[in-house]
Amino acid sequence: MNRCRVAITGLGLVSPFGNSLADFFQRLLNGESAVRLLRLDDPPRALAIPFVSCPGFAAETVLGKALAGTMDRFAQLGTAAAFAAWDDAGLGRRPGAENRERWGVTWGTALGGTLAYEKGYRELWQKGRERISPLSVILGMNNAANAHISIQLALGGVSMSYTVACASSSIAIGEAFRRVRSGEAPIMLTGGSDVPQAYGVARAWEALRVLASGDETTSATACRPFSADRSGLVLGEGGAALVLEDWEHATARGARIHGEMLGYGTTCDHAHLVRPEVDGQMRALRATLVDAALNPDDVDYINAHGTATVEGDPVEVDAIRAIFGSGRKKPALSGTKSMHGHLLGAAGAMEAIVTILALREQALPPTAHLDRIDPACAGVDHVTSARCGGSLRTALSNSFAFGGSNAVLAFRTAASG
C-alpha cells in the first residue's frame, strides 16, 4: 500500500500565554503556570476554582465583528487558532489557482457551544422568557468550529467534529493524519477548542470531585501531575490547530516543515466510564509504535496525558513502564497540563504542538511543581526542569479520555526522515 509521508506545515494556537508559538513554548520551558483563580459570580452561588483563561483573546479583532457574532467562544477560539496555523503554513485565506475540493478539516471538542446553551437556559428558566436567540442552534452545535473553518478557508473536503472527551482533538488529528497518509487529502487542517467555564459545566466537574483545589495564592501551583500531593485537574480554555500536508505537496510549494507525523493509535478500555485501565493505554501505545514503525527504544520523549488526578496518573505511568521499561533507555516524560491546564477537547492538540515544538527546538518542557514524585508514579524519566540540547528525534503525545477512549500520536523531527 502506498503511503504518503505527512509533514506538519502549520501550527497555531490561542493559549493563556497568547498566540505566539515561541513565547508559549519559552514560558513552558520556564515552568511558568497560567493557572489563576477564576471567580464566577453568577447566581445561584458564586464559584471560585483554579482555572486557565485566555484573557488576551479579542474575538472581534481577530475574526471581525460579523463573524465573531455568529460563533460561541469555543468556535471563536478554534477558528482563530485555525487561521493562525493556516497563515503559519503560508496558505492563503482565499483560494488561488489551487483546487481545495479535497482539503478538509477534522476538529475536536468535548463540549461544543455550552456557553450558548447555558445562556439560553438562563433566559428560559431563570428569567422566565418564553423563547431564546434564533442563533442558539448554530452557536451551540458541536460542528460549528469545523464548519466555520471550512467556510472561511473554502475547504471542500471532509468537515467533521470529534467528541471523545479529553481525547477529542488527538483523535481529530489522528483521523486527519490517516487521510493525508492514504492520499485522500493533500492537506488537512485539524485541532481542537473548548471553553469549560460555563457555570453548569464547572459545577458538573466540581461534583465529580476531580478538580484541584486552590485559592488566590495557591492556584498557580494547583495542578501537580505525578506529585505525591496532587489533588486533581485544572480546567482551561483554548484552541490549537495543525496543518498536516502530504510531504511531496509541501516540498513542491516550498513550505517550511515543523516536523513529521509518523503514527496514530487509538483503543478503548471497554471497562469503566471514568476509571482508566493500564491494558487499554498499553494497547494504544503499542498500536501507535506499530503504526509509526518505531521500536520502544526509538522514543525520546512522551508528553503525558498527566491530568494530576489521584487515579489517572499512576495508571498512565504503569502503561509507560510496561511498554518502555525493559528497553535500554527510558523516554523522558513530562505533563505540561501543570502549566497550561486541561483544555478538554483542545488538550490533545495543544499538547501535540508542545511535543512538535520540543522536537523542533530540541528542548523538553518540565512537569511543573513536581518536587515530590508519588512512588506510584516513579520508575520513569520525569522531566522536572527544562532540558535543552541533546538529540531528540521521536516523541509521543498521550490522550486518555473518560469513556475509556485512548489516543496516542507519534512525531519526529523534520530532519530525521
Binding site: G69, R131, P134, I138
Partner: protein
C-alpha cells in the same frame, strides 16, 4: 424608537456598519446582512415592540423594505 433607528442600532452593534450607510435604499446583502442576521433582527424587533411576526413573512431585500414591514406590523398591532 422608530423601526429605522432600531435597524441602525442593530446593524451598527452587530456588524459595525456605519449609520450613514444604513439608508432605505441600501440592500441588506450588500451591507453584509445574511438570512441568519435577518432572523436576529426580527427577534430583536419582536422583543422590543411586543409583536409576533408570521413565520411565512417574505424576507425583505432592502433597509427600506424591512423598515416598512416593521412599521406596518407595529401599526396593525396597535390598531
Amino acid at each position: 424608537m422608530d423601526s429605522l433607528s432600531l435597524i441602525r442600532e442593530f446593524l451598527q452593534g452587530r456588524l459595525g456598519v456605519e449609520p450613514e450607510k444604513i439608508v432605505p435604499g441600501a440592500f441588506l446583502d450588500e451591507l453584509g446582512v445574511d438570512s441568519l442576521m435577518v432572523l436576529e433582527l426580527m427577534f430583536e424587533f419582536e422583543d422590543r415592540f411586543g409583536v409576533t411576526l408570521a413565520k411565512d413573512l417574505k424576507t425583505p431585500r432592502t433597509i427600506g423594505e424591512m423598515a416598512s414591514l416593521m412599521d406596518r406590523l407595529r401599526s396593525e398591532e396597535q390598531s
